[in-house]
Symmetry: D2
Subunit: 395 residues, 4 copies
């Protein structure tokens, strides 16, 4: 049981990594089956063209089939997403779809969710090594003075990436520069890497105080929840909000606005103690399920899991709720968005291709809010465990 | 472009949520196709039995096909995982598989990665409302005095969940109790929910100072990166470590141990400034790709994205590296582990079913370390952007 | 202006560091006066016996005279502090005394503040270096198995320090042990240092897996705000709470409970974004002023500045407020408590000497709450800047 | 022992709060003495003119006499502080002066400490309530468009405060604006309050989308350690750095650079786990002792306690060390700087009055570094407890 899964350690041949033919995939399947003594019946069953995965994966061997459902439709009052949208959710977690559907129904009853993208930026953060803190400070000043040249160097690498600003963070004799870009409809991590590399090369060619530099310094803070991401935005900053009439909340969720707000306050203290960068509940469930369905870089749910919730009983006694996602990285172009099922899921929302990324961001945030409402209400009424009993047990 | 994706808002019928027949799936596909005007050619193509997804998803409609490759094999020197393991990675991020493969080759050359599970616990954290802080403190004392009764109530709900301890966190007039369980080979979030609900019911039946309680308080801190998770563990706490001989590092990665350690120090300052609970690089990439492949609850990569790295040049001039994942939630039983492709991927690692969860945790941590080495070296040598250029661009 | 303050760099004689005679003090004054060309008219004016400062300072030269006032009296309903207490505040910040007095008047009108010490522990956190994470984990287990021996070794160094427990935090191949002690009426940092040193020496004499150890690892987290301190307590954990009748709040502070609660919610979002371990306002003002007045280790206001506030409009429409200080380090014995003015200030509160430390902790927390109320109300009514204009300008 | 400290609750007369005559002080002393049954022998002994405390304290009653010593002189290579400076330290913590003196001697031996102020800004952060997130975003854009008008309104209130920029942080339907000012040689919290109030009044008079606003939102984050302060600076951002020759370190501190760097790495992991915004040791000890001595707002050691340390063994085998204080709030003018002993202490450093504040900031950071070196070395060699035994015990 605890022994090795393969007979002998034959590593993959490096030269077949980029062969995306069906033959190569089959060859790899047989290799795995032989090594591990397991038949890849399901892994080898797919409808997508292996060649379409070139640039998305090396050593393509097959697929993971992740169960998919559509929740909603959710009514979104965005600037980009306007109307009703079916929501593709790929998950193996029982009760997730039911939970989101429940929240969506509530939001729809309240006239839909209002979503707004309030900021948009993607980063790469190199660090420059100087001789002293004083030299680092002077270097940071020099950078701002030469921003036009640096922008030119960076933007020459891409038709899409646009350098918005460079923020400096100084400590010791190091100058951490956080480059903020807009990246169109792509997630943009790769294009900002290229652009920033070009910018750095220009910098070191023109500034002789720099001793060395690294293209990354942990300050971009890629695929990590961090305060710098929460404060300064990474990807899209989106707020979804709604006012739920008291009567509707009581009828559908069996909870008074006051009770839900009380729970929110008590849980806010718990959240404060816990040291979490999310004072909400389960936003990441929405993100993970939608990211898998729509070909996003799923590891970006790390950043995406940060959220700031807010709950208020209005003077009229209704419930105002909002969730702000400060670092939501989504794409409707590039990455995995063009792959078979992923493209279909984007198309169902009318979100495939260029010019759609803010629309997608608005929808994702709206879905996240639906989940907060559903789970918070379930906690308040004690229906939570019951729901899991009903939907979430295998067999 | 910005208009609604569906003609009119016909919500899903609530009563078909749990019908997992192929007919129901087909009916839902047609509904979506009709509403959205999109043909679900790929979504509807799957080999898994829709009935097998009962308990994993509601309103099963089809699948997301996520490209899958196998990296490695990776040599793991664990207590549970001993030998060489092919690593299933489901991703759409170009260069990810190549990057992990590169790190795996390095680790194998160094004799493999040593992985150790150092703690194992799953939580639910209800909050009890008392009349005052003094009453809350006395209640917390009472809880410890009645731990045997509470354990009995909790454990009666499950053959697997075992209550290890109850931690109290007091603020205002609230007593936040964090129940620590072991949950066998399952992720365990649902079973600890049930168990804690039973415990809470026993508590309120036997303690009359409690005014009310909520089953969740944000202190569990589910699907969130938090300091309480990092300090007190959620899921498995696992450390992967290796000593890479200097010559090997230079030969394969073209970087000196001293350079990599210098970068690590500079990046450590950046990480400290950023306010991230991960001072490493890309652990979440490994987790996301393995979680999708093996049927884990992918949203748990939020907690899983926390990591503490450590790098040291040994007196002999070699490189000691370690990564500690303080909140890795994995399962080899329950959840999505039994589904078609997911089960096959677990079987390839010899990790399917009961008695395997620590083995899987050890392997995941080892893969995470491989990725840290590969990316850190690439940053040090400037190969990073080049690698993305080679592997990560569509078309 | 930017030149050196001393003619030539004659360092203090190391051998007079501990001479606490008046002559030595005079000699040092003359040295400073001569070096710097400044007459120490005020610094040399003091009533305390220089000899009394032995153990509190080296090279005693004179005093800083910090303006002192007494606010209150504050009515405290503690377990230890019961009745009305005049509050000594040493400060140079205009409006601070007035602000606290205002909050105290409000609390008194509401029947006083209820304070409760809910935990008490002081730490030292050594780190042990092992060969591997596995060895570190096994070492941590061994520590718990030998807790009786370790406690004996630790407690042999002190009549006061009592070892409550040892918490283990594992990462890489390091075992961070956080020793929790009670330390009677002293702050206790020094006595737990001695005790833990003895414990460590016993450990390394009896466990041969340990490669080396350091007595401190940053995990005690001395004089730092940290999540471990906030979660696990450092010093006293104290909650002060009160319910302010609506009519009283409106009459005295000119603000409705609802308005103050709304501000608290909005500010809670701000606090969440900011990444502060204090969602309240100015607790540290109370601590700094009382710490200086009463001979506490003033640097401990770093830990002390953490706080969790909570505000709620009760069903009756009144305002429930609470503040929890998770790491309040105070002493009524040892340290600077016996010095002239410091002892007098403690005596005014009936808090000098042994058996008084919880009483002092309760009072400090009550004062902190007074300040939260006063400032929050001022922000809500726009009186804040006005108050500073009135009290806070020199000349 | 637990009874009230005063016979009956006679609150201070509000109308004598601002009477700073000696008679008023005497009257208050008698009031306290009578209420509490304690003779204020030492509190009533002071040389400062009570009238000089107008604007620094209300209800002036006497002084706290805090023991004072001078460490050093410390050689500082700043842009503003150049030469040797005697360091006033007011403390009751035994061994503190000796520890700093030890570090100072080491720094002097290495040619002194190099200090640099890399940023300077003081904040007030009001929050504006809008109808929706979209309105909040548009409001934030409007603010940047009207920055000239807003600056004019803000700066009209002060000859000193200058508005550098306004940063927007958006969440829910709230716009948190962080106003960054320079404030000359004053700490500046009050002047930026006045200036921002004027700016806010201009804003609400000219923007009709705003529903209401509060002058503070917790995002300034006054007297709190926070990530926003650490990232964006509050007060002065200062780095002190030095390279200590190996031979000197070994001779004076009995520790190898490599050992100290190893400890720093291990402690860095501890710090990362702890969730502290200071990965160093005891910077706050320097700050508290210097702040009391020089009339700073002592509560600002909360912000000041944040620090980022960095340690490196140079290629030559020496030790490069640096500490960055991201939120050091100091003044040489205004506040308590003009009071008797406080002014003398500033004068000893040549830091009293206008044009001196960066000089003081440089010196404080240099002293902080001295303490880091001394304590880190003591931990590495095991001399730490011994030092406390020698200097830190009363009696």
């Amino acid at each position: 049981m605890q022994s090795s899964s393969v007979a002998k350690g034959v590593p993959y041949q490096k030269d077949i990594l980029r062969d995306h033919s069906l033959d190569a995939a089959n060859e790899r399947q047989h290799f795995v089956e032989e090594c591990a003594g397991v038949t890849l019946h399901h892994v080898s069953h797919f409808s997508i063209d292996p060649g379409s995965t070139l640039g998305n994966i090396e050593s393509f061997t097959g697929v993971a089939q992740v169960p998919l459902a559509f929740a909603g439709p959710l009514k979104v009052n965005g600037e980009h997403a306007q109307g009703e949208f079916l929501i593709p959710l790929a998950t193996t977690e029982g009760s997730l779809v039911a939970s989101y559907n429940r929240g969506i129904k509530l939001l729809n009853g309240a006239g839909g969710v209002t979503s707004t993208v309030t900021a948009d930026r993607m980063q790469r953060a190199p660090v420059f090594i100087l001789d002293s803190a004083r030299a680092a400070r002077d270097f940071a000043t020099w950078i701002q003075d030469r921003i036009t040249d640096i922008r030119r160097a960076a933007e020459a690498t891409s038709h899409v990436a646009r350098l918005q600003r460079i923020e400096s963070y100084l400590a010791s004799r190091f100058a951490y520069l956080r480059f903020d870009y807009t990246t169109g409809d792509a997630g943009g991590q790769n294009m900002v890497g290229r652009a920033t590399l070009a910018a750095c090369e220009w910098i070191v060619a023109n500034n002789h105080a720099v001793r060395s530099y690294f293209l990354d310094s942990q300050l971009s803070s890629d695929k990590k929840v961090s305060y710098i991401n929460m404060l300064r935005t990474r990807g899209k900053r989106v707020t979804a909000e709604a006012t739920i009439p008291r009567a509707l909340l009581v009828e559908q969720m069996h909870v008074e606005p006051r009770t839900l707000a009380f729970w929110s306050g008590v849980a806010g203290v718990g959240s404060h103690l816990s040291g979490a960068m999310n004072n909400g509940l389960q936003a990441v469930n929405a993100l993970a399920a939608m990211f898998i369905a729509t070909g996003q870089d799923v590891a970006n749910v790390a950043e995406g899991s940060a959220a700031t919730g807010y709950v208020e009983v209005t003077p009229a006694g209704d419930l105002y709720v909002a969730i702000t996602l400060p670092s939501l990285i989504v794409a409707t172009h590039g990455g995995g968005t063009h792959l078979g099922t992923q493209r279909e899921c984007l198309e169902v929302m009318g979100c495939y291709g260029t010019g759609q990324v803010n629309k997608l961001a608005e929808i994702v945030a709206g879905v996240a809010l639906a989940g907060e409402l559903s789970l918070a209400a379930a906690i308040c009424t004690g229906e939570w465990v019951t729901a899991h009993e009903k939907f979430g047990r295998n067999r």
